[in-house]
């Protein structure tokens, strides 16, 4: 084995080892400083930490190999003698190592920052979570699924109390079991009829039953708190059965965001929902009308107000009429995540 060739390989392996080591250091740094959550969702973190371990092993191997070859401790490069040998084209190598260095350069050079208004401005705000999770198509589908009925009532909000939803009959047994579920907390003298009334207020089909149950539980409260856990699901329920919640008091926290065409007394209290990584984050929020709306974008606030309804951009959305919003500290974890458990339990 020629020494020059070994030296060339040693340089490549050294470079590769250093870059992979850099990734390991970067991941550990992010995990230690608590900034990892700005980039990936908590449930993905364990995989990334394992990956850091794998990268570390590879980095050590590459550096070890580079030292052995570079100092002539051995003659033959230790490999499978098959492929993936570093290219001889300098441009190819330059581009390749440059690409690997790029995330590290960005990672260490720019500050770790929670996504906020600037991201929302690019991605576009969602003010009707039901359009997202439970998506309601206003035109009935020719396929004639029962679901379109439930969706229609939810979206248009035209359902009047006492008018049974068309799909109701099929669901009667399920409905009564759902009713007994919440019966303990109901104060009504006649729980049976009370629950039946609620059922009509919260029509559902076989797929939106959980949202209906959650809605009924929320409906029994005077103050509805929208917590970070289950933010998406509670928002969805509130939007699906928007009209039922008119006049209730809502308590929600988030950062301030404004669209350019908003009135001066309006702002949006917003959260970003992340599934796996920052790239798939989606902003959700509630429109707030408040006499004291002059807060700067990205200020974290807690808003307590009355639920109403309005139209924005041609869509019916929920509106919160509030007093003065309270400024709060930005939470340690600024994002919300899809809830994987039983969503009915969100109304604990």
């Amino acid at each position: 084995m020629s020494t020059m060739e070994n030296k060339r390989l040693a340089r490549h392996y050294g470079f590769r080892g250093l870059l992979l080591g850099g990734f390991t250091v970067y991941i550990v740094h992010l995990a230690k400083s608590g900034s990892l959550q700005y980039y990936i969702a908590p449930r993905m973190m364990i995989y990334l930490k394992l990956a850091a371990l794998g990268l570390f092993v590879l980095a050590v191997y590459f550096v070890y190999e580079a030292l052995q070859l570079g100092f002539g401790w051995k003659d033959e490069p230790d490999d499978c003698d098959c492929d993936h040998a570093p290219s001889r084209s300098k441009w190819r190598n330059l581009v390749l190592y440059g690409l690997f260095a790029l995330p590290l350069a960005f990672g260490f050079a720019l500050p770790d920052k929670a996504m906020g208004s600037d991201v929302v401005a690019v991605k576009g705000m969602n003010l009707n979570a039901a359009g997202a999770v439970g998506a309601a198509r206003t035109s009935p589908s020719p396929g004639g699924t029962t679901q379109s009925r439930a969706d229609d009532t939810a979206t248009n909000g035209n359902v009047t109390v006492g008018q049974p939803a068309a799909g109701q009959a099929d669901n009667a047994p399920a409905a009564s079991s759902a009713a007994s579920d919440g019966a303990s907390s109901a104060n009504g003298a006649d729980p049976q009829s009370e629950e039946a009334k609620l059922q009509q207020l919260f029509p559902y089909d076989e797929y939106s039953e959980d949202f209906s149950k959650l809605g009924i539980r929320l409906y029994k409260r005077d103050l509805i708190r929208v917590e970070a856990e289950g933010f998406l699901e509670v928002s969805t329920t509130l939007s699906m059965y928007m009209d039922n919640f008119q006049g209730k008091t809502i308590d929600v926290s988030g950062f301030v965001y404004r669209e350019p065409d908003m009135k001066p007394n309006q702002f949006i209290v917003s959260r970003l929902a992340m599934t796996c990584c920052s790239a798939d984050s989606v902003p959700y929020g509630f429109l707030v009308e408040s006499p004291d709306a002059g807060l700067k974008d990205d200020t974290w606030v807690r808003v307590t107000g009355t639920i109403g309804r309005t139209t924005y951009g041609g869509n019916a959305i929920l509106r919160i009429t509030a007093g003065k919003p309270t400024k709060i500290e930005a939470p340690k974890d600024p994002y919300v995540y899809p809830y994987n458990g039983d969503i009915v339990q969100l109304a604990k």
Partner: protein, 420 residues
Amino acid sequence: MNTEVHERRSHWKVNLVFGFIFGAVLIAFLKPELLGNLAFPDLSGLGTFKTMFVGIVLEALPFILLSVFVSSLMHEFLPEGWIGKVIPRNPLLGIAVAGLLGVVFPVCECGLIPIVRRLIAKGMPLYAGIVFILVGPIVNPVVYGATYTAFRTRPELLYGRMGLALGVGLAVGLSVYVLVRGDQLRNGSRGGDAAGTNQRELGEPVHRLDHDRDEDPAHRHQEHILQHHRFHRDQIHRHQHRDPAHRPNHNADNSDNYSNNPSHNHRHNHSHDHEHSHNHPAHKRNRFFAVLNHAGGELYDMGGYLIFGAAIAAAVQAFLPRAELAGIGQSGWESHLFMMGFAFVLSLCSTSDAFVASSFASTFSAGSLLAFLVFGPMMNLKGLLMLLTAFKARFVILVVLITGAAVLAGSLILAQAYGL
């Protein structure tokens, strides 16, 4: 020697240029004012870009790493021709099995491509491999669960996604089976292999040495390597050069090596296709290092493309306002086409794209969301770049076209039939 002097000089230049660019990049980010106002006028956009870019890279990292390790282990330990026994010979059955492989091996496309590349080299039929790459990222329990959570109240999108993915996989698999002949792996060749089992190493060009077949099993590894290199000089062999367009120096280097510089033969940047039997107990340690070496090499092969794709996807995410995109078309085939293109540039993981799709549910028709959900995991920027490292460009283009047509047609038909 001539080549060595030349080589040393060129590497000095490489290091110098690399150092310079790296330094400039660092300065640009640490002290942007030094470069004046023209360099990066909008730093807030750059911050968003960083968050997206690092997020995509970090999220893909575990999967690509797992994949190169699995691929390397298969390379080292899996007997040749094994996969050929697992996948049925009947193409329809083969496609069906390949389409459902994701159920037992739920990995997204950045994790699948290195593995499938290896499987095809180990004897998996091309059409089955392609179906696995296309359908595997969608039809698996993880994505099923994520899509269910994102569209709890709209199961037609969940079932539509799974069904359409299988349908498109069938269409592409059959098309490939009928239309494509010969080896489509880049830098590989299975054409000359009459027996059908191929013993070729992947990713790099091939030096097929016919003596390998009847090699004495007791052959010692080390001896073999030496012998192999001798064969290299002496035997008549055919070699194919890896993508000459990308490696302008390659041919020159090679001929140099062979004619003038025999001592240079051991390492050149292509592989030797030989089946030196790896089954020597005495070399366990070597095999462990071989796996590391292989995995590291493959990581650098694939990772570059992944990071490049991630950078473009992040740029799209950070600088392209979606509200304006949403105005383009909300129903009809234009919206289907638009959502497919959108899925292509966003390059999201199949486990998370359902949630992004759900945020468009109020502005786009369900049919176009279906196109988004099926086309995105099959074809996207970072996946396409990785496909191009594994397969010949013409073949990749063919697959992209068939997949696009099948998704568009399929999603339109489903939209028509079920009123999505």
